[in-house]
Structure formats: C-alpha cells, structure tokens
Amino acid sequence: MEIQSPVASITVEKLFEDNSEEASLQIINSKNGFNREIRERELNRPGLALSGFVELFTYWRIQIMGNTEVGYLNTLFEAERLQTIQRVLGFDLPCIIFTNSNKPPGEMIEIANRNDIPLLSTPLSTTALTHHLSEYLNAIFAPQLILHGSLVDVHGVGMLITGESAIGKSEMALDLIERGHQLVADDVVTITRAGRNRLEGAPSDLLMHHMEIRGLGIIDVRRMFGIRAIRGKKQIQIILHLERFNAIREYERTGMDEGWRDLLGVRIPMVVLPILPGKNLTVIAEGVALNHKLKQLGENAAKDFDDWLISRMKKDPPTRDDT
C-alpha cells in the first residue's frame, strides 16, 4: 500500500538544469563530469581544505567557493597554488560553484578538465546561493511516501482521506469538490516531509487532478469543475480514515481521546469514521475540518464542555432520585 521512495542522488546535470535559470548558473569549463552524483543536501565551503586541512573534508558535497576562497588562492605563489588546487581537486568532488561571478585561477580550470570536475559560476552571493540551493536540495532529498488515498483542502484544512479500496474515498472527495472544496490528489498522494513536523501532499505528475469514480470512469476535475476546484499541494493536517462499520470496534463518541497516525515520523491527528448506510459523510468531513480549525485556535469543544459540566456538578449537591 505504501512505497517509500527517497531520492538517493541527483546528477550535476539535473542540479544545473533545475537551477540554471533561478541562480543564473553558467558553465565555466565543460559538461564533462555532468554525470557526477550529488547524494547529500548539505553544502561545503572548502576553505580549510584549501589551507591544507583535508582530514575532515566533506568532499562529496557540492563545493561553494566565494570571495574568501578565491581571494585566498590569489594570495598564494604559483607553485603553492598549483599544489593546493591539485590536492583539493584530487578528491572526488561532484562540482564546484563560484559565487559573486568569481573566476577560478587558470590552473584550476586545467586540473578540473583533467579530472572531469564541472566548474559552475553564479552572480549570486554565497549566502544567497546557499539559501537557494538548501531549499532546492531539501525538497529533492526530503523523505517521501506514496499513499493510497485522497487529499482535499476542506475549509483550508488539508484532509487526507484513507481507507480500503472501494470504501468511497473518491466519492467523498467528489462530493467535497461539489460543495466548493479543492482537490489536491486522488487515489495516489505523494507525501513529502517538508519540515520537521510538516507533511505536504501533492498529486503525481502524471495523474494530476484526474480521478476515477466507479460507474463513471476517469474524470478531469479541473475541466469539470474549473480551476477553483483544484490545488497543487497542501499541508496534511488531519487524516479521515473510513472503514466499514464494525460492531465490535469502539468508535470515539465524545472527542476526548484523539487518535493519530505516524507518517514519515510526523504525528497526524486521525479520525476514524465508520461507514453506515444513510449517513452524510461529507457533512461529517466538513465538521471534522472545522473542529480541527477550532482546536488549532485552542478551542476544544469536547474538553471545554467537559470542564463546564464537572464544575456544574460540583456546584449542585446530589439530589435524591425520586422516580
């Protein structure tokens, strides 16, 4: 049902193509070595490696050289500079990016060509490039999961609808769309851990906002309901799990005990909804979303009512049952 699909690596070519526009990347030497792989989201500034300390050199990361590194190399005498560059570029570096449009010394281009190490340049400052690439690499290397379910934005709350096949997830999603809510993904939801406690859901590139409704076939929600009915991605804030009514299972009646499910290490509140004939599930789904919003604002109706009731019972002394 669930497939974990973390991206293990990207090539320098992909890095270049995805960022050449936004970071105005330019190729200094050649595309030889564009098949080199980047396996980590972290970046490295090789200042200490240039100065000779290579014991803890994180050479497998993208190397960033700014004014400091280039300035340092320019202070060295020719022989020492050559030696330094040979030492650092002797490592299996994926690529080196020069910020502030810095130009590498001529020897470096020669050695990089010999070792097939791509040299790139950007007009951005080191800080700006670091922020930009961190965001990009975080998104690329974020833990990901593909889950069978539907994701709908209900009153601004990202609601993931789960449950076994044919339980009515898509039908509920369609009903919610009909009532003015927005479809993010149906059937296949790509879930990314976008932050320490933040999950983001999106449709697959291929399926987008198509959905299959039993008896109806494949429909295009965007075409059928218009642009207002869809959304590209949304944070997953609550799970609504549908299951066949089971007389033995105990369902939550008061809302005092909150269930949850762990997805990619993030705890998401979960409401289990038993399916019974004649129940208007869509209205319940909207209620779940609105109640979640209230709870986010610190208003827990079940708890507040309980507190009030307890204080009320303490105030009223027990009376004899005279029936």
Binding site: M313, K314, D316, P317, P318, T319, R320, D321
Partner: protein
C-alpha cells in the same frame, strides 16, 4: 424489564469520559437502556442524553434495562458505575 438504583462513586461524576464508557457498554447489548435522575429519564445509548443528567458524586440514578439480554447489560452497567467507578477515583 429490570430496575436498579445506583450511586455515583467517582469524584468527578458522569462527565464526558465516563459518559462515553457508559454509552459504549450500553451499546454492546441489544436491550433498551434508560437512565434517570429526578424523574428525568434519558436513552442510555445517547452521549448527550447521559451528559444532560449532570450526575455528580453521590447522585442516585435509576437504571432501567429492557430486552433479551437485560440481565447481562444491567450487571455490566452496575459494575461500571459502582465497582469500577469508571476507572476513576
């Protein structure tokens, strides 16, 4: 049909969690379950009904159970209120 008078023995009385426990157990039986205080009687399978009684510590309640499994249902409900005290103090 059987009737029993029970006394609430947990300090907080029948607030939300005990009401949930009561309704959950009552719903496990086929019999009709009614619970009353001062002549007001509510359906024992309805959360809001049970809460409406606002039955605090020391309150006496009248339990009325009617149906094929009334004996078992009554025994379970009395046990919950008087012996288990809703798993509270």
């Amino acid at each position: 049909m059987i009737n029993r008078t029970v006394t609430i023995r947990n300090q907080l009385g029948i607030h939300a969690r005990p009401a949930g426990q009561f309704v959950r157990i009552a719903s496990q039986y086929k019999s009709f379950v009614y619970i009353g205080k001062n002549g007001k009687e509510v359906n024992g399978k309805s959360i809001m009904g049970v809460l409406m009684l606002a039955a605090g510590f020391g309150t006496e309640l009248n339990l009325r159970v009617e149906g094929e499994d009334e004996e078992a249902a009554m025994a379970a409900l009395v046990d919950l209120i008087e012996n288990k005290k809703f798993d509270e103090e």
